[in-house]
Symmetry: C2
Subunit: 168 residues, 2 copies
C-alpha cells in the first residue's frame, strides 16, 4: 500500500517540511542519494514517530493512475493487497477503510496486513522495498520511490502506467 497505492512519501515530506522549514518534494530525490545520506536519517530520528498517530494512514492520497490500472488488472488477475502494517496498530483498521474508500473492487478477503511479507506467496510482487522483494518466490517488481533510488537488481516500475503496459 504505502508508496505503491498510497502517496505516503508526500505525507512524510509534508511532516518533515513542517518540522524543519524545508521545501522538499518527491522529485528532489530522483536519481540521487539525498534520502539515504541526509533526509532519511533525520526522518527516522524525528518524524517517523508521528506515523503512529491515528489518522496518518487513513488520509493518504492515491498515487496517479493506481485506481485505473488496478481496476483493469483486477479483471485479469487475482490481486492481494499485502501491507507490512503490524508495527502501527492504529493503521490496521485505517488501512482497511482506506482500501474500501479508494479500491472498493478489492474486497476484504484479498487484504493482508502483516509484519513480514516473506510468509506470502504469488506470481508477481509490486513493492517499494528490497527487503520484501528479495524473499519473494515469484517475479519481483520494484516500484520507484524516493527511498529506493539506490536499489539495484530489480525491474523498476516508474509509475502505474508502466505496470499497466507490462501486465495488461
Amino acid at each position: 500500500m504505502d508508496d505503491v497505492l498510497a502517496d505516503t512519501s508526500t505525507a512524510i515530506l509534508n511532516l518533515y517540511n513542517d518540522k524543519f522549514g524545508t521545501t522538499y518534494q518527491k522529485e528532489h530525490f530522483k536519481n540521487n542519494d539525498l534520502w539515504d545520506t541526509t533526509v532519511g536519517p533525520k526522518y527516522v530520528a524525528h518524524i517517523r514517530q508521528d506515523l503512529f498517530q491515528p489518522g496518518f494512514f487513513r488520509n493518504l492520497t492515491v498515487l496517479p493512475d493506481a485506481q485505473k490500472v488496478m481496476k483493469a488488472l483486477h479483471e485479469q488477475y487475482e490481486i492481494f493487497i499485502v501491507s507490512a502494517a503490524m508495527e502501527f496498530p492504529n493503521s490496521l483498521k485505517e488501512k482497511l477503510e482506506w482500501m474500501e474508500e479508494h479500491f472498493e473492487f478489492i474486497g476484504w478477503k484479498n487484504i493482508v496486513l502483516c509484519g513480514d511479507k516473506s510468509v506470502t506467496t504469488g506470481d508477481f510482487l509490486i513493492d517499494d522495498h528490497e527487503k520484501n522483494l528479495k524473499t519473494f518466490a515469484g517475479k519481483p517488481l520494484l516500484f520507484d520511490a524516493m527511498h529506493n533510488q539506490q536499489t539495484q537488481g530489480y525491474d523498476r516500475m516508474e509509475n502505474w502506467q508502466q505496470i499497466g503496459e507490462l501486465l495488461l
Copy 2:
C-alpha cells in the same frame, strides 16, 4: 488464532446460551453433528453479528497448554500467526493486543491478519477450518473444534499437548 490459540467457541456458546436459554458447552459437540444440524445455523442467523462488537476478540481466553507448547515450538521453529480477521474491522487491533498480552514472545513481525489464508505459505498449518487447510502447500493439521467434527481427511490434533508430541 480463533479456536486454535483462543477459546472462541466457548465465547460463542456463552452468547448463544444467554440468548436462547440453553446450557451448551463445547463437549456436547464432540463426535456428533449437533453443530452442523442445529446450533451452527442458529448461530449464523442470530449470534454471529455480535462478533463485530468491540471487545469480543480482545477478551477471549487462551486454550489449554497453548502458551507452553507455543513457547517450546518458538525455540525450534519460525512461527507465524495467521488469522482470517479482515471481515471484522474492530478485531484487527484487538487481535494484535491479545497476542501481545498472551504470546509476547511472538512479535508483531510474525503476525498476519488476512481475509483468505491461501496467499500464505509455510511448512505446517494448524487450523480449525478445512477451507484454509485445503489450499495449503505444506502439511495441514486440523485442530479439533466443535464446528469441524464432520471434517475428514486431515490429521486431527485434539489439543496442544498432541501438537507438542508431534512437532517437538
